[in-house]
Amino acid sequence: MKSKRSLLALPYVVWMALFVIAPIIVVVIYAFTTAAFDPTMANFAGMGTYVSIFIRSFQLAIIATLICLLIGYPLAYVMAKEGPGFQRVATVLIMLPMWVNFLLRTYSWMAILENNGLLNQLFDAIGLFDLINSIFGTDIEYFRMIRTQGAVVLGMVYNYLPFMILPIYSVIVKLDRSLLEAAQDLGANSAGVFRKVIFPLSLPGILSGVTMVFVPSVSTFAISRLLGGGTHMMLGDLIELQFLGGAYNPHLGSAIALVMMIIVIICMWVMNRFGEGEEQAVVL
């Protein structure tokens, strides 16, 4: 019986070996070798050059994750409190942009944020620039939105927000109503019920939401190139450059990827330790 069941897991094991473990091994091998595949630590020795890119990547990813949480949590909460009809519509609305290709979505944001893009045209049309110029005596023709770090963060928030909303929503919607009633019964007003019961019990959803936004944000590459205009290079761009770009050096690229992966794993580990108690409680 037991051996039969483990037989069922075989395709999964093969899949994991082929597409998860093998690539990681390849990355590790590349990271510790030279172009001639001689062992070396040189790839890591030069890492100091990229510290600023590391810092920027993690900074922007953390900011984007926090914004996603601030927008996503209330939205998920409201969704979970509404009726099933509203929930269905809201879920579809949240998923809808994800049916459009990622690059296409990001290009659309370029069109919106350009100096002569949709948003600036709109501001112009409603006379916002004239108003500002007349008040401050300035000579503004557009807001510079594209090619800023803000645009990069916006792109990340826009693309990854659903990954924050959905896990939080699914945890809150499954909360036992009688727990909320019990809290009320014991004297908690609605703020108290939220603070003492709903929020702590939705921590597992927050944790997985944060993971699902933070990890792709930190390694994103197209967003920063398109919306950041290449002036704010991030880790994803740096790695891409080593594999596909002019700087062609897959060994250095692998080393950077490996370092990034280790930092992300440490981040996740710390966070999961932090939320361990709650996670267990909900599983049981």
Partner: protein
């Protein structure tokens, strides 16, 4: 003792025209153990939720100490609830679960320089600790305070739920089928313990259950409900001995419910035979329902009985035998310590106080014969008829 604490006045609850509670009038005294008893869907939980503040009646009023409470939210009522599935907070340990209510600052009105001011009062850490520990001792959970609630057994979780509610010193404790998920033994233990806690702390308990035995064992007052209406209110003895209608008789304990005719005060006719009873005040020749409890029937020799019948099935129940006896095609359940083999002819005697006469009601005829009576009564009018195995095993259902 008998000071009125809660009153439901003409409470109606309906959802989209579907009436769940039908003009409920009920008062509950201070320190009373009152049970709302009825089958599922009878409106007992709805009544409890109205008292708890989780529902507002469609019409009618709820009074606490004479003050109308209809729109007062749960967190402002001097009532705490033990929920059906305990609803313990999974992210908190036993201590924190019990301390939950104590950690919430209460608004208290205090005299201050001749003026009454409402103040938020927060209990000190020490006081919270003392009260939680004291309550854990009451429910026999000392030493469990650090455990996560998920590591407790059903009975222990139950005790935490009770402690969590009682630690707030409510005037009234509402209990919604609190023992439903426990096994038989534990249930019996907890029944005794709940009663002890209620008496020790002098708190009013309003208890919802569908288990009649539980209701009889624990309550000062039992309210029997069905179809959103109160069928009878009374002490457990009243309810059992003097059921008001066939529904109550059937729901509370086992009973044989027969058609009868009242021939005079103290004389009721069943199967064309006159029986002495204690009931009075009916019209001459008024058709009535007659309830005879299975344990009130004495089995005697065939020749000495008021009625003669044939035993069709016997089941050993430990203390007694459940004996099904066929009287003229009408099956009775008799509980006796005497063993009568299947097929034997016996006589029975019923003392006057074993016969309970009730007015006809909408429930008449619904619960009659111990086996499915109506068709059979018409088909078989013969005491010698020996039913086949299948029918004889009806009482085991």
């Amino acid at each position: 003792m008998s000071k009125e604490l809660i009153r439901l006045s003409d409470c109606v609850m309906s959802y989209d025209g579907d009436v769940v509670l039908d003009h409920i009038n009920l008062y509950i005294n201070d320190q009373e153990f009152l049970t709302l008893l009825g089958p599922s869907g009878c409106g007992k939980t709805t009544t409890l939720r109205i008292i708890g503040g989780f529902l507002s009646p469609t019409s009618g009023d709820v009074f606490f100490d004479g003050v109308r409470m209809n729109d007062v939210p749960p967190h402002k009522r001097a009532v705490n609830t033990v929920f059906q599935k305990y609803a313990l907070f999974p992210h908190l340990n036993v201590f924190e679960n019990v301390a939950f209510g104590l950690r919430i600052p209460r608004t208290q009105t205090v005299e201050q320089g001749g003026k009454t001011v409402s103040k938020k009062v927060r209990l000190s850490k020490q006081e919270i600790h003392d009260r939680v520990m004291e309550m854990l001792e009451v429910v026999n959970l000392k030493g469990f305070e650090k455990r996560p609630v998920s590591a407790l057994s059903g009975g222990q979780q139950q005790r935490v739920a009770i402690a969590r509610a009682l630690v707030n010193r409510p005037k009234v404790l509402l209990l919604d089928e609190p023992l439903g998920a426990l096994d038989m033994r534990l249930r019996k233990d907890m029944q005794g313990e709940l009663k002890r806690i209620q008496q020790e702390m002098g708190i009013t308990f309003i208890y919802v259950t569908h288990d009649q035995e539980e209701a009889l064992a624990m309550s000062d007052t039992v309210v029997v409900m069905d179809q959103g209406k109160i069928q009878q209110i009374g002490t457990p003895e009243d309810i059992y001995n003097e059921p008001k209608n066939a529904f109550v008789a059937d729901f509370i304990g086992e009973s044989n419910i027969l058609d009868g005719v009242m021939r005079a005060d103290g004389v009721v006719e069943i199967f064309n035979r006159k029986f002495q009873c204690l009931d009075k005040g009916f019209d001459q020749d008024e058709p009535v329902d007659v309830v005879i409890r299975p344990e009130d029937v004495d089995i005697v020799d065939e020749g000495n009985g008021q009625l003669r019948g044939t035993v069709t099935a016997v089941t050993f129940k430990g203390v007694h035998y459940d004996t099904i006896v066929d009287f003229y095609g009408f099956k009775w359940l008799i509980q006796t310590t005497d063993y009568c083999p299947v097929g034997s002819n016996i006589g029975i005697k019923i003392d006057p106080d074993g016969i309970h006469v009730m007015k006809k009601s909408q429930y008449s005829g619904l619960f009659g014969d111990y086996s499915s009576y109506s068709e059979e009564y018409e088909e078989i009018g013969d005491a010698d008829y020996v039913p086949d195995e299948e029918e004889g095993s009806h009482h085991e259902e």
